[in-house]
């Protein structure tokens, strides 16, 4: 925040400085106008680029830190926790029950996060209110099965392609939510213009479409991904 304040102040101070310099010459105040113009322009321009994004998103810390790396090492692969149900639907974030398959209200390790988990949730039989970075809005229908086990070879994608190397993360970064839309920032993309470097930097409809066009030469029909 402070950084921006500095910037904006500089912005206006430049303006002030110049106007002090320019005053005697320009009695019409036209120069003054130009200076005000530049000043205002700079302030709004900078706040538009730097302040606005900060204001637009609210930050939430996860209930406690989750070490994906540790768990994948212990459990083997993603699918041991994020598994497919018998009916083909995807389980997504594990519920307390599936955590309990390994954990008890006695911590297994000695991290304080696990302690929190054991005391706050396992002991109290409360589901952990995780913030889901990749949560899509209600209008989206996404079939993990179609992408990972579709009968056609191109359907066999790995988790990384869309979710990135989250399996290697040892800490959970804060979840950022768009105050207006309630979307996770990961959907629009970290970058305010939504410019992405990796396939997992963004999860908008266009990103799905790009891949679909590439794979089967067609974006697909509305109902394929909407409900």
């Amino acid at each position: 925040m402070s950084e921006i304040e500095n910037k904006t102040e500089n912005g206006s101070m430049d303006g002030a400085g110049e106007c002090a310099a320019g005053e005697p010459k320009d009695d019409k105040g036209l120069g003054l106008g130009v200076i005000f113009f530049l000043g205002a322009f700079l302030i709004c321009f900078l706040s538009g680029w730097l302040l606005f994004p900060k204001l637009l998103y609210s930050k939430h810390e996860q209930p406690f830190n989750f070490d994906h790396k540790l768990h994948t090492e212990e459990a083997g692969d993603c699918e041991s926790c994020h598994f497919f149900r018998e009916d083909g639907t995807f389980s997504g974030i594990p519920d307390l029950a599936s955590c309990m398959e390994c954990h008890t209200d006695e911590p297994m390790g000695d991290t304080e996060d696990e302690a929190i988990f054991a005391e706050e949730y396992v002991a109290k039989e409360k589901e952990v209110p995780w913030f889901v970075y990749s949560r899509q809005p209600d209008c989206v229908y996404f079939s993990h099965a179609a992408h990972m086990m579709g009968e056609n070879a191109k359907g066999k994608m790995d988790c990384k392609t869309c979710h990135g190397p989250i399996g290697e993360s040892t800490t959970s970064r804060p979840y950022e939510e768009n105050r207006l839309t309630g979307y996770s920032r990961d959907i629009w993309g970290k970058n305010i213009w939504g410019i992405k470097k990796n396939s997992w930097d963004r999860m908008k409809m266009d990103d799905c479409a790009d891949c679909h066009v590439e794979m089967d030469g067609h974006k697909g029909y509305c109902f394929q991904c909407h409900k």
């Binding site: 497919f84 009916d87 229908y141 079939s143």
Partner: protein, 285 residues
């Protein structure tokens, strides 16, 4: 459009002689698709019923009166010449509704729709409904809503989707079992609910399926009216407003001639010539 070699063409045939007008299909549809309700639903012109059962009479006076009930879901038109330009799809300015060439199902995307209602004007079946009101439920009742169908917000158009989400669920199961879905894995909510077994739903492109065997759709354009494709070669089967060339995928069946006649408009004397004509190759059908 995708050149889908083994594209489905999901459709329905409704046996009007079996239909009892009991309304199970209507309620099953509403319950399946999170359709809301208002205190006064007797203003039928602003009452959202994706599946609506019409009451038809033969217009004769007592005691020769006859009555038949006609369930009317979205007809999932494939449009003039069967090219997928349904009356509604072709007019939507924002591509909020499209024709799935792989299923023959006409979609409606509530989050894309901005509520211009052009599609409603274009649909002669009144199968499209506008959310004039915010959807509301009595306290607590939201908790029976299904996550498989997104509740609609005020100001958008909605309609029957042939329970597409049921197709999706069936496919997910098939995916994990690495197989194709079977015909009866995907059935609409109205079909399964009908206690009179009046509705048969399935792939019109699948000769093995009952719906195909009953309808015997004619793949060629009707020589009398080239807009019409997929005319039934079964003399007891007809479509609603077939002459307009909307090429619906909901077929109706009745033994009674007056019922079949009620499916379309005819000039004087026209009926007698058309009633015996069933598709191009009907002679050797």
């Amino acid at each position: 459009m995708i050149q889908n070699t083994k594209a489905h063409k999901f459709g329905m045939v409704i046996d009007l002689d079996k239909c009892t007008g009991c309304g199970s299909c209507m309620v099953s549809c509403m319950a399946e698709n999170n359709v809301p309700f208002k205190e006064d639903e007797s203003r039928k012109k602003d009452s959202i019923t994706w599946m609506r059962v019409y009451k038809l009479t033969n217009g004769k006076s007592f005691p020769d009166t006859e009555v038949v009930y006609m369930p009317r879901p979205c007809q999932h038109c494939s449009g003039l010449g069967d090219h997928g330009h349904s009356p509604c799809v072709s007019v939507c300015p924002a591509t909020a509704t499209d024709y799935g060439y792989d299923t023959g199902i006409v979609s409606q995307i509530y989050t894309r729709c901005f509520g211009c209602r052009y599609c409603m004007g274009a649909c002669p079946y009144h199968a499209r409904y506008f959310n004039w009101w915010d959807p509301t439920w009595p306290e607590g009742m939201e908790s029976y809503l299904s996550p498989n169908v997104s509740p609609r917000m005020r100001g958008v158009v909605e309609k029957c989707s042939f329970c597409y989400h049921r197709y999706q669920l069936a496919r997910e199961k098939a995916y994990v079992e690495e197989r194709e879905i079977e015909e009866n894995e995907y059935q609409t909510a109205c079909t399964t609910a009908c206690p009179a077994d009046a509705i048969i739903f399935g792939d019109l492109n699948n000769p093995a399926h009952q719906v195909h065997q009953i309808v015997k759709p004619d793949p060629h354009p009707d020589p009398r009216n080239h807009k019409v494709v997929g005319k039934s070669r079964n003399p007891k089967v007809f479509r609603l407003l077939e002459r307009l060339g909307t090429n619906t995928k909901v077929y109706y069946m009745s033994e009674r001639e007056w019922v079949r006649k009620a499916g379309d408009s005819y000039l004087d004397g026209e009926w007698d010539e058309v009633k015996n004509h069933h598709g191009s190759s009907s002679s050797h059908g």
